[in-house]
């Protein structure tokens, strides 16, 4: 665009308009200032637009456009480029975690997921990608969990594959999702409000027509009222009913008959025929039925989504406990000046300071400071966990002691918090097998309904044409497969939430199918029945006092993380002993050694397994003796016990009372296992089992028709949990990402298993009730509607009442006695 030759006619004639590109006519003088130069425009309109754009501060519009204006193809190319930023190394770590095999796992948020059919479509699209291992879309939370072969697919490919289906995907971000969710909730409320308002108005205009005696209402008054009904129904159709139509359209596009299809047909048919009747003059007008129908539909769905939202909030409270900001030490250890950064900006290797009472911003290793952390939110440990130099701290736990300085080790998707969020996510998405069958059946029922409606329409057109339309609409409206399709998801969601409240986080749907039918329970010992902590049971000291011996032993164990060391140290701390200084500490095969006050001391474990007998050790669940020796001569003996979980005995007793066989399978030596079994009351126990032995044992039980529930450590007992019908892992903290169990015990207690069995049994009963009701309802109402005994109004009420009944029945699970 040259502004040099300003010679009026000639130059201006050749110049294209700065805004629209058309040649500026000769003699026309419209100008605008852009980038310091005067630009010519072809007409007052372009001048007005250009001025508006520039004064709105959008000069970028002119700067950035390469053509007049962008086409769709260019927009898509741009968006792909934006997506590829997610593949950059530093960014990827934030959102993608690596699992224990060669896979990668990520949690994605989905936007524009309008119906269950879309969810299925997204899943199908994802699974069609090479290298994709698992893809599960949770329609309730609008999230997708994907697991794929590491390096086989870049994250941007996954996101754009989803975009091809018409759904926006981005790595899960709680704040954004909040925004999106509240926006869609607001929209849903508006739709509901419009429908309710319109329905009341339409009712006001229709009821007089019903109540009036024939001939009492003059034709033009009647027409006026019907027109009013028409105008008031329009917003309902165009705005409130939009989600219903969209869902129906998407389900047809996905080649499946969603349950919104008959409903949409009913609405459109009713509205269309009523409009025709209105314009043509004559015939029934159904605006009141349509508005009521839409209102009831929206209400049922809103109630359902509200229930889901509440459940989701409680399960998601974890994810919100990470602090937004952290103190990063820039120059440690030279000085301790700190800067405030966003927790999201922390990288592995950063040094952070955690003040007293503050929440730890990321997983890390303690570099300086001694204190205690409250990890109850994450590991279920109700007691604060002491932390020393070298201990790990978990992002999300609370620092109860003095300020700590830690080095960040894991951020983003591989952190413990993210693992727990994923576990909660899986809990919400868990679906029993039965649900798939019910959905298929619901689709078939929708199809059958439409078919039947068409047949009935034909039949009635032949028999009595005036009633044909009303009956068709009634059939389409009354037979609702939604009760069928809602029966199971609503119930399992409520059951999962109840179990989570009790302390068991569901991961896989097969739990709901198998748990009520469990006949045998297989338990591991260490870590399952016992809490994995050791406690000092007794001190046998000779020449020294018990406290002195303990102080020396603790001094030798300073800095160690061994369970024995912890037990000694915490007992010494409890007794308030001052520890002597130990030098030349070294780790021995069976213990530790060091110099205290000039003399060499050793503290070693007395191997119990080799002698095979307990030398004066008290009976206990798991016994270890540690000998304190000076110069090789034993001076004191410490007896340590593996503590049983407090509710272990009660839980086992309750299981036995239910008629479920309990088996203790352990790899430990026979003596501790026998003691443990005796203390708890288990008659079937086996010691010295390898993981394969345990699997074989379970297989034997299953061969005899038993259904086995296995409880163990999620990582080491992986095969055992997989072999059993239901596998429950005791949550041990940092290994959550690797757990493939069907459920996770979050609180370090065994009692939730009992509760879960009861809840699952109740859920099963509820599902059966709901299914029975849905079946019976549809079976009875279809013939009635086809026979013409149901008015469209009643059809609408009946259908919604049926859905609400199913949802209410499921909601009962969330509360109430077991």
């Amino acid at each position: 665009m040259n502004s040099v030759a300003m010679d009026g006619a000639i130059a201006a004639a050749a110049e294209p308009c700065f805004h629209c590109g058309i040649a500026v006519p000769a003699g026309v003088r419209f100008e605008v200032l852009f980038d310091g130069r005067s630009r010519h425009l072809c007409c007052a309109g372009c001048a007005a637009v250009a001025t508006t754009i520039l004064e709105a501060g959008l000069a970028g519009y002119y700067r950035d456009r390469t053509a007049f204006p962008e086409g769709p193809a260019q927009t898509v190319a741009d968006s792909l480029r934006l997506l590829q930023r997610y593949d950059l190394a530093g960014v990827r770590e934030r959102y993608v975690a690596d699992d224990d095999q060669d896979g990668a796992v990520a949690l994605l948020s989905l936007e524009g997921l309008n119906c269950a059919a879309c969810a299925w479509l997204v899943e199908r699209r994802l699974l069609s990608l090479d290298g994709m291992r698992e893809a599960s879309v949770n329609y309730a939370t609008h999230r997708a969990q994907v697991r794929w072969q590491r390096d086989a697919i870049p994250l941007s490919d996954i996101l754009s594959a989803i975009a091809q289906v018409g759904v926006q995907a981005y790595p899960a971000d709680a704040a954004l999702e909040d925004q999106y969710r509240s926006a869609s909730r607001k929209r849903a409320l508006w739709e509901l409000f419009v429908a309710a308002f319109a329905m009341m108005q339409v009712m006001m205009y229709t009821v007089p027509l019903y109540l009036a005696d024939p001939g009492e209402v003059t034709p033009d008054l009647k027409q006026l009222m019907q027109w009013a009904g028409f105008i008031l129904t329009l917003p309902v159709l165009v705005f409130s009913a939009r989600p219903i139509f969209r869902n129906a359209w998407h389900s047809i596009a996905a080649r499946s008959f969603g349950m919104d299809v008959p409903v949409s047909l009913a609405i459109l048919l009713g509205f269309g025929a009523s409009t025709v009747a209105l314009l043509g003059g004559g015939g029934e007008v159904y605006f009141d039925s349509i508005t009521m129908f839409v209102l009831l539909l929206l209400t049922a769905r809103f109630v359902d989504s509200e229930l889901r939202r509440r459940r989701q909030r409680s399960l998601e409270s974890l994810a919100r406990s990470l602090p937004a900001a952290a103190e990063r030490l820039t120059n440690y250890p030279e000085d301790t000046c700190a800067e405030d950064v966003a927790s999201a900006a922390l990288q592995p290797g950063d040094m952070v300071r955690i003040a007293t009472g503050a929440t730890v911003p990321a997983d890390g290793v303690l570099i300086d400071g001694v204190g205690q952390c409250d990890e109850s939110l994450l590991s279920g440990e109700s007691l604060p966990v002491p932390k020393r130099r070298g201990d790990g701290v978990i992002g999300g736990s609370i620092n109860l002691g003095s300020p700590l300085i830690a080095r960040v080790t894991r951020v983003g998707a591989s952190s413990v918090m993210a693992g727990i969020v994923r576990a909660s996510e899986a809990a919400l998405a868990a679906r029993p097998k039965l649900e798939g069958k019910a959905n298929t059946f619901a689709a078939q029922l929708s199809f059958a309904t439409v078919l039947l409606a068409a047949l009935a329409c034909g039949a009635w057109l032949w028999a009595d044409p005036s009633r044909a339309l009303g009956i068709t609409v009634a059939i389409l409206a009354i037979t609702c497969p939604c009760a069928l399709a809602l029966a199971i998801p609503a119930t399992t969601a409520a059951a999962a939430a109840r179990m989570a409240k009790a302390g068991l986080i569901v991961q896989r749907g097969r739990l709901f199918d198998a748990l009520p039918q469990v006949t045998d329970v297989a338990l591991d010992k260490t870590g399952t029945l016992t809490s994995g902590n050791m406690a000092l049971a007794g001190i046998e000291a000779g020449t020294l006092s018990a406290d002195q011996a303990l102080a020396i032993a603790a001094a030798l164990e300073i800095g160690s993380h061994h369970p024995i060391a912890r037990a000694l140290l915490s007992e010494a701390e409890r007794r308030g002993l001052t520890l002597p200084k130990a030098t030349q500490l070294s780790i021995q095969p069976d213990g530790v050694a060091g110099n205290i006050a000039g003399g060499p001391w050793t503290l070693g474990r007395q191997p119990v397994a080799s002698t095979g007998q307990e030398e004066g050790l008290p009976r206990g669940a798991a016994n270890t003796a540690v000998l304190l020796c000076r110069n090789g001569a034993p001076v004191a003996k410490f007896l340590l016990q593996d503590e049983l979980r407090p509710d272990a005995a009660d839980s086992v007793a309750a299981l036995l009372r239910r008629g479920i066989g309990v088996h203790l399978l352990s790899g430990d030596a026979p003596a501790p296992v026998r003691d443990c079994a005796g203390q708890i009351g288990i008659t079937h126990w086996q010691a010295g089992m390898s993981p394969e032995d345990k699997c074989r044992y379970v297989q034997a039980l299953q061969a005899n028709g038993g259904r086995v529930l296995a409880i163990g450590d999620g990582v080491n007992d992986g095969p055992l949990l997989a072999q059993a019908n239901v596998g429950i892992a005791i949550h041990g903290g940092a290994d959550l990402a690797r757990t493939r169990a069907d459920a996770i015990l979050a609180g370090g207690r065994l009692w939730p298993v009992l509760e879960a069995i009861q809840i699952a049994a109740r859920a099963r009963r509820t599902i059966q009730q709901n299914l029975a009701w849905a079946f019976a309802y549809n079976l009875v109402c279809l013939p009635l509607a086809a026979a013409g005994m149901v008015t469209p109004q009643f059809a609408a009420i009946g259908m919604s009442a049926s859905s609400l009944l199913v949802i209410a029945n499921a909601a009962r699970l969330s509360s109430g006695p077991r």
């Binding site: 003699g27 637009v49 519009y61 936007e111």
Partner: protein, 254 residues
């Protein structure tokens, strides 16, 4: 001339004349939605697909048409008032004549040969100066309701086509008729703006070719001439038919 025929003519004018509008009003909404004053964040949170602009486009154009209809109603109301006061037959006739003449001028304007309506547009620009701050507040356009609001203001852009159509709307003689005429005109502009506004550059480039604009202008001139020929008192179609028949008879007569 019946209101139906005038409406039809308005629709056709919109269709043909929209070649003029594409550059100015076409893809603006989709493009403006992209632009921000601030630099884009380094990690984009959402990717925008091609279809997300459609709703905004529809809303924008809807707002535009609503403004046209409102202006048309105003024009029709003014002329109805004038006729009721006592202008009567003569006012109607002269309005009609003026409308057709303006239509011819519009055709000339669109063809690009001359700019007879430039003065009108400059007058309209003064009106736009008042509207502009409101429009500036609505930019950038992020949601369909905003696009709709912007569209209603956009309808006040100084545009010779609108002014000549408004005069035609006045000939309808009633607010409803006036609104119907402008509505038809707006609907006529829709296809071009929706289809070509946000399409690839090549599509819009066709419309900038002088030949296309010349053809469009010529068509509008013909419409105006037609209108002139069908003075009130004759039914439009029958006049046309009899005209054609007369010409045919004239041709075929030995």
């Amino acid at each position: 001339m019946t209101v139906g025929a005038v409406t039809l003519a308005a629709f056709v004018t919109g269709l043909v004349g929209s070649v003029h509008c594409v550059g100015m009003c076409g893809g603006i909404v989709a493009s403006l939605a992209w632009q921000r004053g601030a630099p884009t964040p380094s990690i984009p949170i959402r990717a925008i697909t091609a279809t997300s602009g459609i709703a905004r486009q529809m809303a924008f154009n809807g707002g535009r048409i609503v403004t046209y209809a409102a202006l048309g109603a105003l024009a029709g109301g003014v002329s109805a008032a004038g006729i009721a006061i006592g202008g009567g037959y003569i006012l109607r006739e002269s309005l009609y004549l003026a409308a057709q003449l303006l239509m011819i001028l519009l055709g000339v304007h669109l063809s690009g040969l001359l700019q007879p309506l430039a003065a009108l547009e400059r007058g309209g620009a003064r009106l736009w100066k008042k509207v502009q701050p409101l429009a500036a507040q609505l930019l950038p356009v992020e949601s369909p309701p905003r696009a709709f609001a912007l569209g209603t203001l956009w309808g006040c852009l100084p545009c010779g086509m609108i002014y000549s159509m408004l005069l035609t709307a006045m000939t309808a003689g009633s607010p409803a008729g006036g609104a119907a005429v402008m509505l038809a005109f707006g609907l006529g502009t829709m296809p071009a703006l929706l289809l070509l506004g946000s399409a690839a550059e090549s599509g819009a480039a066709i419309l900038r070719k002088p030949a296309v604009r010349m053809a469009a202008g010529a068509l509008i001139i013909c419409l105006g001439l037609f209108g002139l020929m069908r003075m009130p008192g004759h039914d439009s179609w029958s006049a046309l038919v009899s005209l054609c028949r007369d010409m045919a008879v004239f041709r075929m007569a030995p």
